[in-house]
């Protein structure tokens, strides 16, 4: 006999407003139903009322942790609409922001993950090191969280030589710390017992459920926008893709720590190779765009971030679509939790680095009747399959 266990949207084990209904048999989970929609803020609609220049500043409020990724991805899309190519120094600084942000997001996540597994001391250590990243952001952009660093055609502020020296020192310190965390986690029997084999996601499931980011890479799926479609200056940078085959919570932890090291390498490369010259081009605040549409993809700390822009030739976009990594990673969580223990729920949910506030954006509005309907995942999937078959795309 199975029972229903309702989890969230407000629950001490979850940091974000999401609701799960677990069908349980004893301590084992048989079935999971996720339910999102507690934090819908209508930001896509809001973006349609903002000019091209303003859109990035609204977009960066979609997520508080990967605000730089949203800001940059949004402006990358706007630049494609206008056909603008930012100067090279601007692209370097943009990449610097993205990689610093990846470090801060992964350190934050590592702390939360260890906190969920009851290792609060290292949670404090991680967040203490993260604070150094925040200081760098404050010095570079003027704000700790919402950096507003990018603009159409480059970045808004230049970096100084003294800042780059500071960045190199920070890289040396953090490399040591990343190694320390890795040794600590891999050598601690309690942590290993808590994470190893928990919430497994086989490679086939990760691929078919379109998991993104470190979740996919921990299951051995080669999915990284920096690798598939290098943007900004990633094609020249010493980027390497990190893959693990195990697909459990420990693998996700290791992938993220390794990615911190990759980010450090890229930051060092940027500090050594940043070219001189302009970092932005002038862009008028209110201007008409050509009739066009564009997509923009970048690898946010949590996975692939996707923006779609459509322009009707006006001063504002006529349609904006955002797909955040957490939205793609909700279904893999369902798969991960099947057959697991109730006690593993926080670990499994935390292991995808959820940012629920980002992912709340699927409601359909019928234009004629003005009726609002919520689309189920099955309907969306069957629709997408049909669509891709029609377009002659990849078969699922």
């Amino acid at each position: 006999m199975t029972y229903n266990l309702y989890f969230g949207p407000i629950h001490p084990a979850l940091k974000e407003p999401i609701n799960f209904t677990f069908e349980i048999e004893g301590e084992r989970i048989v079935n999971v139903k996720p339910n999102i929609g507690y934090n819908h803020r209508g930001l896509e609609k809001l973006l349609e009322s903002k000019t091209w220049l303003q859109s990035g500043f609204v977009a960066e409020h979609i997520c508080g942790i990967c605000s730089g990724a949203h800001n940059g991805c949004c402006y990358q899309g706007v630049e494609r609409i206008f056909g603008i190519e930012p100067p090279r120094r601007g692209l370097f600084i943009r990449t610097l922001v993205w990689e610093l942000e990846r470090i801060h997001s992964h350190l934050l996540w590592l702390g939360v993950m260890l906190h969920e597994s009851g290792f609060d001391t290292v949670f404090m250590y991680c967040w203490r090191d993260r604070e150094l990243t925040m200081d760098l952001f404050e010095e570079m952009s003027g704000r700790r969280v919402v950096y507003s660093m990018n603009t159409v055609g480059g970045v808004r502020r230049d970096v100084t030589v003294s800042f780059l020296d500071k960045l190199k020192k920070y890289c040396n310190y953090l490399e040591e710390r990343a190694k320390f965390y890795e040794d600590l986690i891999m050598g601690d029997t309690t942590i290993l017992a808590r994470l190893q084999g928990v919430a497994p996601l086989p490679k086939s499931d990760a691929a078919s459920l379109s998991a993104v980011g470190p979740v996919a890479r921990a299951s051995g799926v080669k999915r990284d926008v920096r690798y598939e479609e290098p943007y900004a200056v990633y094609d020249e940078s010493p980027f390497r893709i990190i893959l693990r085959e195990e697909g459990d919570a420990l693998a996700r932890t290791i992938v993220r720590i390794e990615e911190i090291k990759v980010s450090i390498d890229i930051l060092r490369w940027i500090a050594d190779n940043i070219p001189q010259g302009d970092y932005k081009i002038k862009f008028p605040p209110i201007t008409k765009a050509p009739e066009n549409e564009a997509i923009s993809r970048i690898e946010a700390p949590r996975g692939e971030l996707f923006y779609y822009f459509k322009s009707d030739g006006g001063t504002t976009p006529s349609r904006v679509k955002v797909r955040t990594p957490t939205f793609a990673n909700i279904l893999p969580v369902v798969k991960m939790l099947e057959g697991q223990y109730i006690a593993d729920i926080p670990i499994a949910v935390a292991s995808i680095d959820p940012c629920i506030a980002c992912c709340e954006r699927v409601t359909l509005i019928d234009r004629k009747t003005e009726k609002t309907t919520i689309v189920t995942m099955d309907q969306l999937r069957s629709h997408s399959k049909k669509y891709y078959k029609k377009a002659g795309g990849e078969k699922f």
């Binding site: 220049l53 303003q54 500043f57 604070e131 003027g142 507003s148 209110i286």
Partner: protein
């Protein structure tokens, strides 16, 4: 055992250090140069063109009548509780009358208590 030693080493190292946290209200903490904090407006530089209110992504700037501003006779009023501190107004101001200061103490019991600085010099 090596790993046990590693964790202890870290703990002992941290014991001898100063606490990382700062006793904030009693110790003055300065923000970095270039911090985007409370907005300040130099009223004698402002020409009342209203460009700041048009570029503001948060619709936090309203043009209010002010006799000191010539020739337009109006100046921007910053609704700081709605402001997102993006500094677009300062970037696009043609007379460089708007500046974001390093003052981050933005608090008040009422919304009206949080106001921008208006300097006459």
């Amino acid at each position: 055992m090596k790993i046990w030693g590693r964790a202890y080493k870290e703990a002992v190292k941290r014991l001898t250090e100063k606490p990382y946290t700062i006793h904030y209200p009693f110790v003055d903490v300065k923000a970095f140069k270039g911090y985007r904090g409370r907005i300040s407006l130099q009223i004698n530089k402002c020409i009342g063109c209203g460009l700041c209110s048009r570029v503001c992504p948060a619709n936090a700037i309203e043009m209010v009548p002010d006799e000191r501003v010539k020739p337009a006779g109006k100046r921007p009023h910053f609704k700081l509780p709605e402001c997102c501190y993006c500094a677009l107004c300062a970037e696009y101001c043609p007379k460089e009358a708007i500046e974001l200061t390093t003052d981050y103490h933005l608090y008040g019991f009422k919304k009206e208590d949080v106001v921008a600085e208006v300097k006459s010099e």
